[in-house]
Symmetry: C2
Subunit: 459 residues, 2 copies
């Protein structure tokens, strides 16, 4: 459904709503996908939204609810009766319920927990205790468990009986009496086997699994490496406590990529989408790096002050400081960002550091020579001839261009090695490397500039 | 399997290989996951790698092959006989075959195409024609198609008969006699229905689908919005030509995030992993932005030259140029990166531009005041008292701090609006916005600095 189709559909639905043709509206909504119903609800004002939500068929309501953003969820919770709320909570998958509870205000959480059955409450409480961004925090408890002595016909009978409420039925988990994970069997295996085959003979005992405390990024690597639909999560004693399904992992991957991008831009990552983050919170996420870099710039200030009297004799050099520092920063960030991303998706490891450095030095040679040549021509043609800046002599132009080559070399070398060293030392390369690299490169770029100028121009 | 376990396993396997115990090696490998076997093969030298590959059981070989990188694939193709090669190609899913062929040298491609059956060859040729990064280029032709007059028992019989070679059996596609897509039915629906139910009654006719020319990013949005395992791809006439499965989309998402990150760092994105990209190609991907920014810095140079004589009277101001330009650049890139990422994952749209701007202006006020206050204290305590720079008077410090506040305001405002305007105009916000924003902000930061200094210090 594209944007225009969606708008036409929403208009039609809104007309039904305004005409109070609730039965027709309910009929139309029940044919729609849960995600699209949720999108339609968020287009409405809070009051009609809650009203429309309450006419949804019961089996659709919980899934629509899970697709709403937390503000809409909160509004609905505050509108419905305890009994209705209880029904929604029971229908929600426990991971969706936990996601929601982590963001709701405390008084609303209390009411939700009060209306849930004690079994659901215990489960939710258990899930709330797993560390943020761990496998435990993204898993769900609704899976199909089978026993190894079952045959294929019995397995299908069980899947048919309990499958309707499970997040996935396609991967089934074979557990022992004390809930230890013994194997997995897929519905494809079952369909291709004979009715009388025993699970023990057809299940895969070499189970790819995660533990509750594993980082969610590791879990998502399992999915992309092994092309799985679900990964079982076991506790420290090896007991199966939940599963992570591929749709949850897609959300995790999106979130992790956003976090990497934010870190590289000097923003403390937050789970909240931008649209729902307040100005004060954004300020808290951004100002530390700005402060760090501002204070870090003290070094550049000291260097410039030290060369102040020398610069007075060749004031033309001052104008090129921003260009040279910019070139250093950009060259370095190209290298560091490429390395950080490849570390993060597992394409590079610390042991590759020398081959990476060797490659970056060759790239630096190519980039440095290109930039220096282009700049030499530009300095003499544009700055000297066109803009009549007669201080731009050939020795001055040569000084600037030699500086560029050195700066690009240093920038690429530091940009590629520092993130790898940070990772080796156990720091997050994205967080650690960028502010440090910028500060180091700014300082070094200036030092290189003035040293080259001293040697070539005798300032 | 963690790094250490993997190393132990590889050592054990290598010992079997060196002892020429090929039967034991084959036995061990056949128990392993295809991804792990491929990882083991890439640890070996080319010759033993090809040897080990050839002892793999036939049904495992094709999937291991699909998991190898293209260099290893090429080596194996050059080692095996035409008959063996033909068998591998027939076993590969067509999307994996196409991925490989797009990267192999022309002479190897020729040999692969020659050994394939004419049916496979036609299919591959058809797939190779879809534009890069389109739904057509990532889809596969191996899916389960059913007819609407079939009942559940007949459907299961067909799934059992043809399912073994299909990339997924869990989503089945109901097509008409002329291959038009009429509905989808999942194995879950089938399992929960009665044997005699007719597909027409249980299938979902409201099918979420893509067309062959859709961008792969739109396809991945369908998966994350609707929690799907497979999306059907239809041609312009509405005929079903292939499906995209969730495991392919996970790769697409990783690739798209990498591209966004590269674009923001001024790197032309490439599909090739860093480790397999040569220095010259990396240079080609990086140097255009460096050149653009270097030439863009002409503006800063002109501004500094224009204020040169004024600066001579207050030379202390020169030392703070890098800090102020850095603060502007960093403030701006925080805003632009946040907006670009949220545009790319569909959390923001052009119509949000005013609410985003309003939020960023409040963030700018908070950040600007924080930075200015911290800097005022730092200037007087560190630069004046500690470093004995007596030129840092209170009016000078005030000038610098007022400048910071203005710069942060301008940087946040431009940083958040320019990507949204770029998107509205049909440009890629990640590519268009960053180089432009940097150049604009560097120029404006300097202008603001000198104008504030002229007003406050009378230079």
């Amino acid at each position: 459904m594209d944007e225009q189709e969606a708008q036409e559909l929403y208009t039609e639905l809104k007309e039904l709503l305004e005409a109070r043709r609730m039965r027709d509206l309910r009929e139309r909504l029940s044919e729609m996908n849960e995600f699209d119903v949720a999108e339609f609800l968020t287009e409405l004002e809070p009051q009609p939204m809650a009203m429309v939500f309450r006419i949804l068929p019961k089996e659709q309501a919980a899934e629509v609810f899970a697709n709403l953003d937390v503000d809409a969820q909160e509004h609905i919770i505050n509108t419905v009766s305890d009994r209705e709320l209880g029904e929604i909570i029971e229908e929600l998958y426990v991971d969706d319920a936990v996601d929601m509870l982590e963001e709701l205000p405390a008084n609303v959480v209390k009411r939700v927990m009060r209306t849930a059955t004690s079994e659901t409450r215990d489960l939710i409480n258990q899930f709330l205790q797993y560390p943020e961004n761990s496998a435990g925090s993204i898993m769900t408890a609704e899976f199909v468990d089978l026993k190894k002595y079952m045959n294929v016909r019995e397995s299908f009978a069980r899947i048919r009986r309990i499958g309707a409420d499970k997040e996935t039925i396609y991967t089934c988990f074979v557990t022992s009496a004390d809930r230890h994970l013994e194997g997995v069997v897929t519905v494809k295996d079952l369909l291709l086997a004979k009715d009388e085959d025993i699970l023990e003979d057809i299940m895969d005992t070499n189970v790819i699994h995660a533990t509750t405390t594993d980082d969610q990024e590791e879990v998502s690597t399992l999915f992309s490496d092994y092309d799985l639909l679900a990964v079982p999560v076991v506790d420290r004693e090896g007991r199966l406590v939940g599963i992570v399904t591929v749709d949850d992992v897609i959300d995790v991957m999106e979130q992790e990529a956003t976090e990497d991008i934010e870190k590289m831009a000097g923003i403390t990552p937050s789970d909240k989408p931008y649209a729902r983050t307040g100005a004060i919170e954004i300020w808290k996420n951004r100002v530390p790096w700005l402060l760090f870099l501002m204070i870090g710039a003290t070094f550049t200030c000291i260097i410039i002050n030290n060369f102040e009297s020398a610069l007075a004799t060749q004031a033309v050099l001052i104008g090129y400081i921003p260009m040279l520092m910019g070139t250093g920063g950009n060259s370095g960030s190209q290298a560091s960002v490429a390395v950080i991303r490849n570390l993060s998706i597992g394409e590079l490891e610390f042991k590759d550091i020398f081959s990476v450095l060797w490659k970056e030095l060759r790239v630096a040679l190519l980039c440095g020579v290109t930039l220096a040549s282009a700049n030499f021509v530009k300095l003499l043609l544009v700055d000297r001839l066109l803009l009549h800046n007669l201080e731009v002599t050939i020795p001055v132009a040569a000084t600037i261009c030699v500086t560029i080559i050195f700066i690009v070399f240093v920038a690429k070398a530091i940009g590629c090695t520092l993130p790898m060293i940070a990772e080796k030392l156990g720091f997050d390369p994205a967080v650690m490397a960028n502010p440090l690299i910028t500060t180091i490169l700014d300082t070094l770029s200036l030092l290189i500039y003035f040293l080259v100028a001293r040697l070539m121009l005798g300032i």
